[in-house]
Amino acid sequence: MAKSLFEKVWNAHTVRTLSSGETQLFIGTHLIHEVTSPQAFGMLREMGLGVKFPDRTFATVDHIVPTNETVEPFSDALADAMIKELRKNCAESDITFFDLDSGKQGVVHIVGPEQGITQPGTTIACGDSHTSTHGAFGAIAFGVGTSQVRNILATQTMAMSKLMVRRINVNGQLSPGVYAKDVALHIIRMLGVNGGTGFAYEYGGEVFDSMTMEERMTVCNMSIEGGARCGYVNPDETTFAYLKGRPYSPEGEAWDAAVETWKSYASDTDCDYDDVVEINAADIAPTVTWGINPGQGISIDENIPSPDSVPEDQVAGIEEALEFMQFEGGAPIKGISIDVAFIGSCTNGRLSDFEEVAKHIEGRLVADGVQAIVVPGSQVVASIAEEKGLDKIFISAGFEWRAAGCSMCLAMNPDKLVGDQICASSSNRNFKGRQGSPTGRTLLMSPLMVAAAAITGKVSDVREVFGVSETASV
C-alpha cells in the first residue's frame, strides 16, 4: 500500500504500543541545549538512570549565549551557570557538545543540519518547539518538553500518538521579493495558528521542489506556529547535494547506500493524505505580522484588520492585539516606524539569509534612531559570512554584527527590546513580551523586509526599497 514519508518513518521507528494506546517511538537523533535539559539530567540522577545512546545525543548552547561578549564567566551569572551545567552533564554522560570554543556552536536547529547530523528518514527530537526545522530533510522532527527529554535520554524513545498528515502544495512561481518566510507566514495566516493541531505538514509542489535546503528549513521551522507538531519536505537531489561531505554525513559506499535508503522514505506518489491544501504561489506577497500571534499577518499592501471587518468570533482577539500593538484597525501596515531591526534566529539565521540581505544593502545606511542587529545562526555561518566579507557590508551599513545564538528571538540573553519598542524581526514569534520587554512589539517578516525597515526606519515594501524586480530566488 502506498505510504507517506511520515508513515514510513513512523513505522520504522515504532518500538511497540504502550498500554495508553500511544506508540513507543524510537528517536534516532536527540539534540539538547542548556535551557530544557538540566532538569532532565537532574531527574535521571534522582532515578539512578544513565543516558542510553550518548552517541545519538548532540548538544550545543544557544538560548542564553550573549552575542556581544565571549569571555567566561559571562556577566549574567545564571546564564553562566546554565552553560557550565550543560558542559558538566555532557562530559559526565559522554555526549558530543558543540561548545563555545568548538567553532561549531550555534542555534541547535542550524547546527544539526550544517553538521550533517540531520538526515532523511530519521526521527529527531529536541526540547524546543522549532525542532520542526529538521523536517526540511525528510526527517520526522518533534519539539518535546523536559520530561520527554528525560525519557529520551534514558530510553532513546518517547510516548506519542500518531499524527494525521496534511499535504500542502504550493504551485506556480513566487513573485520577486517574496521569500520562504512569506510562504510560511502565508500558510499560517490561511490555516490558522491552531489549524495544524493533530497534523504533520508535508510541504510539496513546484515552489518547494525548487527551494534550497535553507529555504525549506525556514518553512518547516514555522510549522509549529501553525499548530503542526512537525513539518517536512520529501528528500530529493537538493537534499542529498546539501548533505554530501558534511562532517556527520556518510562517506563512500555508505553514502551510496544511505542515499538509496533516504530515497525509499519519500512519500509514494499515490499515497493518501488526511487532508490536502492547495496554494497558488502567485497569491503570496511580502508578508508582515501586525498582531500578537504569527497568524495575524497581512501582505505589505494591506491594511491592519479592524474589529468591525471580521466575524464576531474574531473581534475580541483583534481588539486585544490592536490594544497591545497600539495600532489602529484599518490603517496601513506600511509606514509604521520601527525602533529595532533583528536579523537572525533558527528561522532566518542562515548563510543565504545574510547573503541575500548583503546583496541589497551595500551602499545603504540604517536609519537614524534604529538599532539594527545581525546575529548569525552558528559559528560556522559566522565564519563563512566573514570569509565572504558580509560582516563588513553589514557593519558599514550601520548594522551590528554579533556572535552566534538565539539572541533577540526570545531574549534570554542580554539582547532585549526596551519598553514598547517596535522590532522588525526575522524570527518566528510575535507573542506579547517575546523579545524581552513585557510591552515590546514584534513584527515578523523576511530578512530582506527587516533590512528594508532598518534602512527606511519604517515598515516598507522590499520591492520598492530595493527595486527587487528580477525574479528572486524563492
Partner: protein, 198 residues
C-alpha cells in the same frame, strides 16, 4: 513506580480568558534561567499579572476572592508556542490541578499530561457558564471528572473531552510513562539494530 490515579480533580476556579494564550505568556522566557523547576509558580502569568514596576495589574489572578483557585479556565489553543515544560510546571507549582479550555496546543497537552495535570476540552458556551458561576460565587467548587469526561460546578454538570490516551494514563496512574518506556528495553535495542543510521 506507583503514581497517583487521577480520576478527578476539584477546587475553586479562576478564569484567564482569551484565545491563543501562548507559553511565553504563561511563563516569560526570562524566568527560565534556572536549572530546576522549583520556584516557577510565582512567575506564572507574570506579565499578565504584573506591571513593569512589579505592582499588580487588575486581573482575576490577583483578586483575593479567587486566591487558592486550583482549576484554570481559558479559551482556545491554550499553551501554543514554545515547547517549554516550564509552562505546565509553573501552572502546577502555582497550585493548579487542572485546566479547562476550548482547546489545547499539542506539545503543551503532552507536557501537562506527563506531569499529571489533566486538561479538559469544553465548549465555549459551557466554559462561559462555569466562568459565570465562578464570578457569581468564587467559592463554587469545580470538578473535572477525568474518568467520565464530565465537569461539575455547583448543581450543574457539563460534558468535556479528554483524549483517550491521556484519560487512560491519568485514571490508571500511568501519566508519567518512564517506567513503561524502560520496560521496553529489549524491543528498543531490536528497533535500533534495524535502523542503519543508529
Amino acid at each position: 513506580m506507583a503514581l497517583e490515579k487521577i480520576t478527578q480533580v476539584s477546587g475553586t476556579a479562576v478564569s484567564v480568558p482569551g484565545n491563543d494564550i501562548d507559553t511565553d505568556r504563561i511563563i516569560p522566557a526570562r524566568f527560565m534561567k534556572c536549572i530546576t523547576f522549583d520556584g516557577l509558580g510565582e512567575f506564572m502569568f507574570y506579565d499578565v499579572r504584573k506591571n513593569e514596576d512589579g505592582s499588580n495589574k487588575e486581573h482575576p489572578l490577583n483578586e483575593q476572592r479567587f486566591a487558592g483557585a486550583s482549576i484554570l479556565l481559558s479559551g482556545n489553543n491554550f499553551g501554543c508556542g514554545s515547547s517549554r515544560e516550564h509552562a505546565p510546571q509553573a501552572i502546577a507549582k502555582a497550585g493548579f490541578s487542572g485546566v479547562i479550555a476550548e482547546g489545547f496546543a499539542e506539545i503543551f497537552f503532552g507536557n501537562s499530561t506527563t506531569l499529571g495535570l489533566p486538561l479538559a476540552v469544553a465548549t465555549k458556551e459551557d466554559i462561559q457558564s462555569i466562568a459565570a458561576a465562578v464570578e457569581a460565587d468564587p467559592t463554587t467548587v469545580v470538578t473535572i471528572d477525568v474518568e467520565n469526561q464530565r465537569i461539575r460546578f455547583g448543581d450543574q454538570e457539563v460534558t468535556c473531552f479528554i483524549r483517550e490516551s491521556a484519560r487512560d494514563s491519568l485514571v490508571e496512574g500511568k501519566w508519567d510513562p518512564i517506567a513503561e518506556l524502560l520496560e521496553g528495553d529489549e524491543q528498543i535495542n531490536a528497533t535500533a539494530k534495524k535502523l542503519p543510521y543508529v
